[in-house]
Subunit: 243 residues, 2 copies
Amino acid sequence: MKLYKKGADTSYTLGVFPTIELLKHRPEIVKRVVVHSKIKDNSGYPLIVDLCNEHHIHIDEHDATIDKLSPKANCLAVGIFKVFDTQLEEGNHIVLDHPMDMGNIGTIMRTALGFGYTNIAIIRPAVNIFDPKAIRASMGALFSLNVVYYDDFESYRHDFPDHHCYPFMLKGATNIHKVEVTYPHALIFGNESSGLDDRYLQYGQSVFIPHYETIDSLNLSISLGIGLFHFSKRDFINKEVLK
Amino acid sequence: MKLYKKGADTSYTLGVFPTIELLKHRPEIVKRVVVHSKIKDNSGYPLIVDLCNEHHIHIDEHDATIDKLSPKANCLAVGIFKVFDTQLEEGNHIVLDHPMDMGNIGTIMRTALGFGYTNIAIIRPAVNIFDPKAIRASMGALFSLNVVYYDDFESYRHDFPDHHCYPFMLKGATNIHKVEVTYPHALIFGNESSGLDDRYLQYGQSVFIPHYETIDSLNLSISLGIGLFHFSKRDFINKEVLK
């Protein structure tokens, strides 16, 4: 097993939790699972064994493979899988313009899943969602999402011309607290450093998240968390308990 | 100049932006500024020079010091300062119970500053806000905040018995969308992995941020961003432009 390289047709999960998510949601793409000899006491191990049995997936115990793929971390399981294509479905979308940070994209995928935004369009150039670091940061949320790359925003728009666009921009025209939420929508967020360029002001209803000028901007994953929280309010306002 | 160690009475900023924040907001604690010979073309350099002149702070050009303190990053300026104590003021507070992640605490400080929450209580054991990595992640927001460590929550409560407490918990009693916001308040957030323990249910009005059970929980900085956004709405709802 080789270390992941961008563009490879095989990647892997690092850790018990994301490996379980892989086995639960995308068992058909799993090639094999490798576990560390120390995994026996881990509370997730019986579930890994059950899921592998159910889907006839081979488990190898091989410490050297794990140490090679995850030299620093205390990793107990690796799920090796074939990278996969998905299609965006109707319903609300997130569009990420040139996201570049591995940790951010993981947090974004996890947050998106939590708020029910299971369709994400990514405009290239962009971070690679199949990088093991991104998968780990997503805690395996990737395996429950549809994520599609586009070369430019116009190509996305061509596929989904009827989604109401809400570009999140420092120059946005409307305060998020006052925006009228319509469905289905596409919430559009820019790159970590540069945000969305002015071109996006022409699409739909641009939005800003108000804050004091003591900071230049909120960071991308915070803005996205707030945006999703606000735009999905209808689905959650009457929930009486979380757990 | 030595690499920062926990408990040292001197620390440093890494990078032009946080160094400017230090010089702007806490010039009295700055011992000296060290710049890299490559800084001349950086757009922030003239401001560093002006601020150092204004406050009679010495600037050294010394590449070896910078390379030592920041071996990996492309760092052009370092501001060496004496660690400082602050006091919490009245007004709204954030309380962080056992935050442990260096990057998170930086993002949290920056987000807090943006939403006008300039007073943060941290319950030990906890990450060290004077670690250069935390300062860098905060982009220097630390220098505009009051941050006070407490050994336990009761000690904080003793100092500020009249703040309305809102512990953010998966088991929280009230949906954030329906909570009545009162002032001054303390928004309380737990550790990255374990959240707040059940003991916090007894303090004030516990709150949950509703999401689907497809994820275990939102991550700490996302929860905090959403909490601050929601609880500070009164101050921002009528803002008509951001920039």
